[in-house]
């Protein structure tokens, strides 16, 4: 009875040593593949955490505006600038929806080809005007307010913009919509004036009287006019 206890202890100790030794040996043997697995696991965790946190439209807008401004205020001519900011603005804005809103209910009567043509011309006009306004090297100061929910698929981000040559800020509100392609800007309000509503009011009579042909003709004439940067 007295000898059985040390025997048991030794047996357990030997078994554990063997197990740990074997386990340690295996760890050492497969150390490289395990290292790859650990790296991949951390990658999995990262991916899952990104998938779990949905993109916030306000922070998305902020980074998009920063990207556009860094190109815009680089001291280039407005023509060069329009070409450079176009891809960014086309990603940030839904020009198809902006144009549809600007034309209003008459849009449904336009042929598919005319809709495409009007969208193309109108987006060119908007980008051209934008490029003419942001010429220079001094960026404006932008402060962002709290995001306001409008409907489950729409929200607005209020900002206050102070131009470098002024000390009076003005209110700019970005309205975003959750389209299947992601959050896109569908309207911008400057001091309460809606960009799309302003154009809708201008196009209304034109659409009712002359349809798509009149709109296309007017936009082409507008694009042919010279524009004065920073007038």
């Amino acid at each position: 009875m007295t000898n059985s206890k040390p025997f048991k202890r030794d047996a357990i100790s030997q078994y554990l040593n063997a197990l740990i030794g074997e386990f340690g040996n295996r760890i050492y043997q497969y150390r490289r593949s395990l290292a790859v697995a650990v790296v991949n696991l951390s990658f999995v965790i990262c991916r899952l955490s990104f998938a779990a946190s949905p993109p916030d439209p306000a922070s998305q807008l902020r980074s998009e505006i920063d990207q556009v401004l860094s190109i815009a205020y680089s001291g280039q001519s407005s023509e060069t600038l329009a070409d450079r900011v176009r891809p960014l603005l086309e990603k940030d804005f839904s020009f198809e929806l902006v144009t549809r809103q600007a034309i209003g209910p008459g849009w449904r009567q336009f042929a598919a080809g005319d809709q495409q043509k009007v969208t193309d011309l109108f987006s060119r006009l908007v980008i051209r005007i934008y490029a003419a306004r942001v010429v220079g090297t001094q960026k404006p100061t932008i402060t962002y307010g709290k995001t306001v929910t409008l409907t489950p698929d729409r929200c607005e981000v209020p900002t206050r913009v102070t131009a470098p040559n002024s000390d009076k800020p003005y209110a700019v509100v970005y309205r975003l919509i959750n389209l299947p392609s992601g959050w896109r800007i569908y309207d911008v309000l400057i001091e309460g004036v809606s960009f799309v509503a302003n154009y809708r009011a201008q196009f209304d009579d034109l659409v009712r009287r002359g349809g798509a042909a009149a709109v296309i003709k007017t936009l082409e004439a507008k694009l042919a006019e010279p524009i004065n940067p920073n007038s």
């Binding site: 497969y30 490289r32 593949s33 790859v36 697995a37 790296v39 991949n40 990658f43 999995v44 991916r47 899952l48 990104f50 946190s53 949905p54 993109p55 916030d56 439209p57 306000a58 839904s94 929806l97 549809r100 809103q101 034309i103 209003g104 209910p105 005007i129 306004r133 709290k146 995001t147 306001v148 929910t149 409907t151 489950p152 698929d153 040559n165 000390d167 009076k168 919509i177 959750n178 389209l179 299947p180 569908y186 309207d187 309000l189 001091e191 309460g192 004036v193 809606s194 509503a197 154009y199 809708r200 009011a201 201008q202 209304d204 034109l206 936009l219 507008k222 006019e225 004065n228 007038s231």
Partner: protein, 273 residues
Amino acid sequence: MNYLIPTLLLVLTCVSGFADETNQPTPPRRGPAAAGKTKPGKSSQKTTKPATSSGDELANEPVEKVNDPWERLNHTTFRFNDSLTIHAVKPIARGYEHIVPQGVRNSLSNFFDNLDFPIRFGNNVLQGRFVRSGQEVGKFVVNTTAGIGGLFRVSDHVSSLADVPAEDFGLTLGRWGFSSGPYLVIPLLGPTTVRDLTGYAGDFALNPLNWYLIFTNYGLISRAVGYSVSASRFVVRSPGSVRTYEQMKEAAVDPYIAVRNAYLSHRAAQLEK
């Protein structure tokens, strides 16, 4: 062989991760809340089911009717004002900008804004907005003292005074229940409405700087000072108004309607503040 399983895991993770972002748009953390329940003006942290839209409801909104019964006359006045702006006001504004440096122009603009304090304060009182009246007093005191006679907008650095909406008698009439009335374009003055033109007359009377034009018991020197102040105020504000007008005109396919819509929308937004 040792890397096969981890590599497969990596590929699967990438595929599943990207698929999650592209195929299932997720709602924002600060955005959509319960459908139809959320009032505009309140931010929400709720996360709800993904909600996407085609934007059809926005595109089909009808154009608002505008109360512009004197449109033909307004058009004529608009063309007159356009010529006046381009051929008279713009050269004055460009000359002023050429002579006076930017920093001084900003200070002079602040100075005249500060002098409009009686209008903003008086209208807040008339509307019963006593908190805002107090804020206007605070702004005036801070800008007149620390801002050296209103040359610097020191109040912008005081959080409680930084963003006080400017009130005028047109807005006061609107809050008292008067509708805007027909749209008007006035020579020199530009776009307005019947209500805002009445308000403009009220504000004019409320501003002590204009009293030399209203009361007859003013001496010659006082009148000369009064006219000088009015002329200076006009010149100081001319670059801003010319630039705004030209930018609107350049962007517009119909400048008359663009300016009318901008004026009415801006006033409606001010009334909501």
